[in-house]
């Protein structure tokens, strides 16, 4: 098992263990470094083999704790400090959330405690629980909502206490009515948590889109949901919080959707964090993985991976495997010049002008993209690239441009 020290946005965690040390499932093996950081917990009983560089999904080799798992390792989490959560102040609650190592499980991996600690000048009235799948193909949130609605209530209540919100709205897309039914049965009588069904479309699961659908409020450009008095959390995150917080345990596993035409046994699997992709794919039956393209996350925003030794990290919501035929189809689609059809402008959920941004990117006019065309508001949903009849890799250009602007700012 391979556990990267940086599985979240922020500072990498600091290892608490040495090579050769034995650990038990659930034991913290790395501590948070500063506020914007979270600890890491051992996903299985085993012995730390080394702390060394291993390939990551993004490309560069990163510092990882490598764990050799004992064959007798159990499913039971053997490290916990149950606490009386009712006695905790919001501040202590935030600390308890940090101790679980929880990050946004939708894929953004922003530390949850940081998201739930709202500066005093912003009054939060509503917690929005994001029950929309982030992307097509993914079903992990759907599965969790159907099977653990009670934990969702616990998690939502704790999050509401942490941010001081009066009410919570759970937004679920209308293609998951069985999940809606399951949640409705668990809704509390006091009416502080309500459920609302929203139309199924992509990208409904993006924070700002969901806020618009549920509250009809637009988050201004460059601002965060907290500026309009809202905090959005993924259902997966809250369900896991609802399970882990009362038990005082750490995040050691997550639900991963393993699917795609190249998979024999597609499904939603509980996968211990740190499991190499090779193991997951063997389990799910991906016979010959060369000649295939493998994507971590969803098809629209996910990351293609080059190495099967990349582990499942806290932010991996799905593993998609496409087969040779689909690869050939994409390979054949060569990119042509922009014909200014305006399709990308029509589909951009943020109301940007991807066509113009794309042309500026080709000219390497990155400053103009950032200053005049609101590149910073693009959340890389991939809709513009999807509809482009000229097959221009717009989002990739934007990612490059954003990277360069970030470097310049630093």
């Amino acid at each position: 098992m391979i556990l990267p020290l940086a599985q979240h946005i922020g500072k990498p965690a600091v290892p608490l263990v040495r090579a050769g040390q034995e650990v038990i499932r659930g034991q913290p093996i790395a501590r948070a470094e500063g506020f914007l950081s979270v600890p890491i917990h051992a996903p299985a009983d085993g012995v730390v083999e080394a702390i060394e560089l291993k390939p990551s999904a993004r490309g560069p080799m990163v510092e990882c704790i490598v764990l050799r798992v004992y064959e007798a390792s159990t499913q039971e989490i053997r490290w916990s400090e149950p606490r009386d959560l009712d006695a905790l102040s919001p501040k202590e609650l935030i600390q308890a959330i940090q101790d679980t190592g929880m990050v946004g499980l939708g894929g953004a991996t922003f530390p949850s405690h940081a998201k739930l600690s709202v500066p005093a000048e912003h009054k939060i009235h509503t917690l929005i629980v994001n029950g929309c799948e982030c992307e097509p193909y993914l079903t992990c949130d759907h599965k969790l909502m159907r099977e653990h609605p009670d934990d969702l209530m616990t998690g939502a209540r704790l999050a509401m206490r942490a941010i001081g919100a009066e009410r919570a709205i759970i937004g679920v897309e209308d293609n998951k009515l069985d999940a809606v039914e399951a949640i409705r049965r668990c809704l509390p009588a006091d009416g502080r948590i309500t459920l609302q069904v929203v139309p199924t479309k992509y990208p409904q699961g993006a924070e700002k889109m969901l806020i618009k659908s549920l509250l009809d409020v637009e988050v201004p450009p460059g601002k965060l949901p907290m500026h309009v008095g809202v905090v959005v959390n993924n259902v997966g995150t809250l369900i896991q919080l609802g399970q882990l917080l009362p038990a005082g345990q750490g995040l050691t596993e997550r639900v991963v959707t393993v699917t795609g035409p190249g998979i024999k046994k597609p499904g939603d699997y509980w996968v211990p964090i740190g499991t190499p992709m090779r193991t997951v794919l063997e389990w799910a039956g991906a016979p010959d993985v060369s000649e295939r393209s493998i994507i971590l996350g969803g098809p629209m925003m996910g990351q293609a991976v080059a190495s099967l030794d990349v582990p499942v990290t806290k932010g991996v919501s799905g593993i998609l495997v496409f087969d040779q035929r689909q690869i050939e189809r994409t390979a054949a689609s060569k990119s042509y010049p922009c014909i200014k059809c305006g399709e990308c402008v029509k589909v951009c959920p943020m109301g940007l002008n991807p066509s113009m941004l794309g042309m500026l990117a080709a000219q390497r006019e990155y400053d103009a993209m950032g200053e005049h065309y609101h590149l910073g508001d693009c959340f890389e949903c991939g809709c513009c690239t999807y509809v482009c009849p000229s097959h221009i890799p717009l989002v990739q250009q934007f990612r490059v441009a954003k990277g360069i602007l970030r470097e310049q700012a630093a």
Binding site: E52, R58, S290, T330
Partner: protein, 294 residues
């Protein structure tokens, strides 16, 4: 009559206004005049105006200002012919000074014939873009992606991509402006004085066995060069041989002789000499894509 007088009045008014404004401008010109050394403009004329930044200033105009002020020596302009810099020096009556020629060097020798690729990259054809997609598919996470961002960015045509997809720097054309250093997403270029002849053409920090499985010319940190070279010249750091150029006068081709992969080279006259014990690379076609490289 009525009309005539209005024309006269209007004409007189405009003339008076014109005179007043002209006078204001004349006064402003005198009062707000900023003296500028006329030599700055003349020196600027003698510069290449490529604004490449190799001298470390913001551009040719800025360089001219600093040369005239005596803050920088004329020889710092590496784009100009030495004769032109000598002319600038004699024009200003200062010494030209001396600057050792620097060139951009790539710390990677992993061309397509020796370095494995574990996945095909399809997408925008720049190194920068490829690096955002799982590092570009090359087995070695540090290696050159070979899509030629450096070739495109070089203003002096000093970089060409060879048949193995590696950039080759023409030392005569290179002005050490540093554009390739900035553009490389893997940070493989650095500016080196030409006197630095001993060179480690590898940046892989992976364990020796791993890096050799990924690339046949990787530094495996075996330590033979450290033993053979003058004491303290080379040290091992993070699975990589690192040369201490403060001790450069001690460097000699002895250090490269026993290198098993030929990762450490002796650069002489634009030729990279590999050690006698370095494995011979005969292959010229690209290695196949292999998903299971460690």
């Amino acid at each position: 009559m009525e009309m005539m007088s209005s024309i006269v009045v209007a004409g007189a008014f405009m003339a008076a206004l014109g005179t007043l404004l002209a006078w204001l401008l004349a006064v402003a010109n005198k009062r707000l005049h900023v003296y500028e050394d006329p030599r700055i403009a003349e020196v600027e004329e003698m510069l290449p105006k490529s604004n490449c930044g190799a001298c470390g200033t913001a551009g040719c105009r800025n360089f001219a200002e600093q040369v005239v002020a005596g803050d920088i020596i004329p020889a710092k302009c590496t784009v100009n012919a030495p004769e032109m810099n000598a002319y600038i020096a004699s024009f200003l009556g200062v010494s030209m000074g001396e600057v050792e020629k620097q060139v951009a060097r790539l710390a990677c020798a992993g061309g397509s014939h020796v370095a494995y690729v574990r996945a095909n990259y399809k997408g925008l054809g720049t190194c920068r873009a490829a690096a955002t997609v799982s590092g570009g598919g090359k087995a070695c996470a540090w290696g050159c992606l070979g899509l030629g961002d450096c070739e495109v960015v070089c203003d002096f045509d000093a970089i060409t991509m060879n048949q193995f997809g590696l950039p080759v720097v023409d030392a005569d054309k290179c002005t050490a402006c540093g554009d390739c250093v900035d553009v490389c997403p893997k940070d493989l270029f650095s500016l080196q004085p030409v006197s630095h002849k001993l060179w480690v053409a590898c940046k892989s920090r992976a364990d020796g066995d791993v890096s050799e499985a990924q690339c046949q010319v990787a530094c495996t940190a075996c330590g033979k060069c450290v033993m053979d070279a003058a004491p303290g010249l080379i040290r091992l750091d993070n699975n990589l041989a690192v040369i201490d150029y403060a001790k450069n006068p001690l460097a000699s081709p002895v250090a490269i002789e026993r290198c098993p992969t030929g990762a450490i080279v002796w650069l002489d006259d634009g030729q990279a000499l590999r050690g006698r014990e370095a494995k011979k690379i005969i292959r010229i076609e690209a290695l196949p894509v292999r998903a299971n490289v460690v």
